[in-house]
Amino acid sequence: MWAARFDEGYVLGDITPASAATLKGVPMLLESADVRVRQRLLPETCDDPEDEQQWRQHAVPELERLFASRAHLVRTDLAGLRPMPKSQNQLLLIPFAHGNAWLAALNAARLALFVLNELTAESMEPDAFATVTPKQQEALLRIHLLAEVQSVLLGDLELESAGPFADFVIE
């Protein structure tokens, strides 16, 4: 996969079918009803039980609405995945205006994969990869892929700018 910046946003190219499947899983993970995911994305916030109950009653529903709004936006962008010429790989455009929503959604998906696959801080270390189960290895690869996309959106990677992608128009 490669990434570049153009006038209106970012373009990710040569997205393999497996990577596309991982990206398509982001909104589903953000909206997961799994109790482990919900506990991480909507964590206990107050020490006092009464305060916590108030928090659950007032703040959590607003956060849930925000997550749903973000999932919708990310899903809309993912619907624009387009095939690359002479390849099974795909290309994705992320408008600058959607960058913050994508960053948060990617973070949520990485956290969800972490808890759903019972990973630990130790298993996130590079030399621990060989010690975890195949299912956990797959989850780690997905987590790292999503981190790469986050790094693109955070501006941590050197990107080529735009010329060759001027023909791509975000609708």
Partner: protein, 99 residues
């Protein structure tokens, strides 16, 4: 442009659970092994308006000690900040300042 605006992220609005109390409250961010350090820094800048240096220092404190008090002040505002941090999926809590 209109179509894009229609899909833009909707900012959360806030209903205050409780009235503010006189004692100040801390907003804490806790370490997690998944969230990128650069992302934490960006969120602290975005939510609190901190300068890059301060945000980076707080992020490093979270990373090294497991948590950091990132803001202290009135309860209502502390709750608003925690909600914003949780909106970005940082592990954030509030606590009343002792004493």
């Amino acid at each position: 442009m209109g179509a894009r605006a229609a899909t833009k992220e909707k900012p959360a609005t806030r209903t205050t659970p409780k009235t503010s109390l006189a004692r100040p409250w801390n907003v804490l961010v806790h370490d997690d092994p998944v969230t990128l350090m650069q992302y934490v820094t960006k969120v602290l800048i975005q939510v609190f308006g901190y300068a890059q240096d301060k945000a980076h220092r707080l992020m490093m404190e979270v990373h090294k000690t497991g948590r950091s008090v990132v803001w202290t002040g009135p309860r209502e505002q502390a709750e608003t900040y925690v909600q914003k941090l949780q909106a970005h999926h940082l592990l954030a809590t509030i606590e009343v300042v002792d004493g």
